[in-house]
């Protein structure tokens, strides 16, 4: 195989992988938009944002902007809920959708 062909394959591979990441991110964003943003968007009326601002401080209020959220923590919150945030069932957010959501929200990998 020539170098060029190898490069081409590599490049194609990257494209495929980045395509997958993009798709995952867009599924993650969609799941977030469907199930989380009504409470967590950057708005003075969003209950999750209001509460986190009060309990954690303004810099932690909008979860989409945070870099400190971990994979395990998000999964725990989504499947177990906490205080005013009810848990989500598998018929609402499937395990695969949760994977995408976590990838979308975790920024510090």
């Amino acid at each position: 195989m020539t170098l060029n062909a190898k490069l081409l394959l590599l490049l194609l591979g990257c494209l495929v992988i980045s395509g997958q990441v993009a798709a995952e991110n867009s599924t993650g964003r969609k799941v977030f938009g469907q199930w989380c943003s009504a409470c967590h968007m950057d708005s003075p009326f969003a209950p999750g944002t209001i509460q986190l601002k009060q309990t954690h401080g303004p810099e932690y209020a909008v979860i989409q902007n945070r870099a400190d959220l971990t994979d395990a923590f998000i999964r725990l919150l989504v499947r177990q809920g906490r205080a005013g945030m009810p848990k989500f069932r598998r018929t609402e957010i499937s395990d695969a959708e949760l994977d995408s959501l976590v990838k979308y929200l975790v920024k510090s990998q």
């Binding site: 003075p44 009326f45 969003a46 209950p47 209001i50 509460q51 069932r89």
Partner: protein, 522 residues
């Protein structure tokens, strides 16, 4: 921990049912693992989260699968609790009343089956939420508005069969629906109203066809599973005005009710007039600790500060006016003139035309834009417990004051803030009292439970009954409908025995128990 089981059901039978369900719905959509069982707990239950724990779940994806599942359950006599989106929060969430009952989760049936622009309705499956239908209408360019309740993630069918209320033009969810399709406990399919004709063409348009009206029997009941329903929509108006009347003094309640009633009666105001007290609106926008850190209800001087800072009234009436510019302006002019006699009021109006962006939360909900803004109230005390006490009364100032005074006094006596709103339809109001407590404080939850029983009893003594209630109080509320030795409940039990002789659908819902439970003293 040992799994609690419904009367007459063994663990083996339950497992057998789950095994048979899996063959119908697929391996992952029926289960009795602890994680899955507990995912149906009531997130805001005033007590042990496991008090109403499910025995497992089954989630069919089609009407045929529902039929197959209920036939199996009927044969094995395994009870199930149907739910559409399971967001019945404040009244029990997705949880069944009898621990160990399986949840029949219809969330996967989430198709919008038809939207008709000319006749302005949508025919939907149970899993379609207000968010889902809103997105569908937008994406497909339908200029039709829904009537949404506070929780946008609830469903057209779940909210409809609970006889819930939305903020929009066609407010009452059940009254503005038709085309119900029902699966009876033996698996038989029934279509109500005009849908009862095999080739009927008006099923989605009006309730009732020929003979007794049966749609209502499948609301707040345990006679079958609703698999389709049509909901009337409102053609986008030329002009929409969102109106607010904030009355700074508590004494204004009677006048607000009296002054606005005629406009409800002649349908100048078509959507519900919602008259919320200060504490309720403050709980959407802030948390209690911002204002007050002490125990017991917030004192008067703090309430005055909240009122000033949030620029609210002690009473805040809101409603919408819809139609052409002339009609809307004329209506508002007449209403303004009438309310001018109420002391200490401030009026606000915001006007929208097609294409305008609607940002204010109340304006959104009256225009059918779903949200979850009202969930702010569950954070009021810091840790998210919430149950609603929802009696109905005549829309007169005298009745509003009488009931409000009774409830407020008791709520304060028990040490809670009193958050409430009158949802006024033409002749009657539903006074929704939102009791918010800390889920991590057992003694506080015990107090809420006691308070709730007192409220049912004392309101009933004055002739006020609840339109809907939490799982824990279904028996007490059913008993409070006591005319002629509870003739109504006895009739409902007679129907139960005839329609569901094996007692498999939602035992205990609305105080209606299968014969086997009644024989054990229920």
């Amino acid at each position: 921990m040992k799994l609690p089981l419904p009367l007459g059901v063994s663990e083996r039978t339950l497992e057998r049912a789950i095994g048979e369900f899996k063959k119908i719905v697929g391996e992952q959509w029926a289960s009795s693992t602890q994680v899955d069982r507990e995912s149906y707990n009531d997130a805001y239950n005033p007590g042990d989260p496991l008090e109403f724990v499910a025995g497992g779940f089954v989630a069919p994806a089609s009407v045929e699968e529902v039929q197959a599942v209920v036939k199996i359950a009927n044969r094995l006599r395994v009870p199930y609790w149907p739910m559409s989106t399971g967001k019945n929060l404040a009244y029990g969430g997705a949880a069944p009343l009898v621990p160990g009952t399986l949840v029949l989760d219809l969330k996967r049936m989430n198709q919008v089956l038809e939207v008709n622009d000319d006749l302005a309705y949508a025919l939907v499956e149970p899993g379609v939420s207000f968010f889902d239908l809103f997105r569908y209408l937008k994406e497909n360019g339908h200029k039709l508005w829904m009537s949404v309740p506070g929780p946008g993630w609830g469903s057209i069918i779940g909210n409809g069969v609970e006889r819930g209320i939305g903020y929009g033009y066609f407010d009452d969810q059940f009254a503005n629906s038709a085309g119900m399709e029902i699966i009876l406990p033996d698996g038989e399919m029934l279509r109500a109203g005009m849908g009862a004709m095999a080739n009927g063409n008006s099923g989605s348009l009006i309730q009732a066809g020929f003979g007794p009206l049966v749609e209502g029997l499948f609301t707040q009941s345990n006679y079958g599973v609703v698999t389709k329903m049509a909901r009337y929509l409102y053609p986008e108006p030329q002009t929409y005005m969102s109106c607010e009347i904030n009355c700074r003094s508590d004494a204004g309640l009677e006048m607000l009710v009296e002054t606005l009633r005629p406009f409800k009666m002649d349908e100048t105001i078509r959507n519900p007039v919602v008259i919320s007290n200060l504490e309720l609106i403050a709980s959407f926008l802030s948390v209690r600790s911002q204002w007050y850190q002490g125990d017991g209800p917030m004192p008067e001087d703090r309430l005055a500060i909240v009122q000033e800072k949030l620029a609210l009234g002690r009473w805040n009436a809101s409603f919408g006016l819809f139609g052409n510019e002339e009609k809307v302006n004329d209506s508002w002019a007449r209403i303004k003139q009438a309310v001018a006699v109420i002391k200490d009021t401030e009026l606000h109006e915001r006007v929208y035309h097609p294409g305008d962006e609607i940002l204010h939360p109340r304006d959104q909900s009256q225009a059918g834009v779903p949200s979850l803004n009202e969930f702010g109230l569950v954070n009021w005390m810091g840790s998210g417990g919430h149950i609603d006490f929802s009696p109905v009364g005549p829309m007169t100032g005298k009745n509003a004051r009488e009931l409000y005074r009774l409830i407020r006094r008791r709520v304060h006596e028990y040490g809670f803030d009193h958050l409430c709103g009158f949802y006024c339809q033409s002749r009657a109001f539903r006074l929704i009292n939102t009791l918010v407590f800390r889920k991590d404080d057992k003694s506080e939850m015990k107090k809420v439970r006691e308070l709730f029983s007192v409220l049912i009893r004392e309101s009933a003594a004055l002739g006020y009954g609840e339109y809907r209630t939490h799982l824990a109080y279904m028996d007490s509320v059913a008993r409070s409908y006591d005319f002629n030795n509870n003739a109504m409940l006895r009739f409902q039990q007679t129907l139960k025995d005839a329609i569901d002789p094996n007692g498999v659908v939602a035992p205990g819902k609305s105080g209606i128990w299968p014969r086997s439970y009644r024989e054990q003293g229920k």
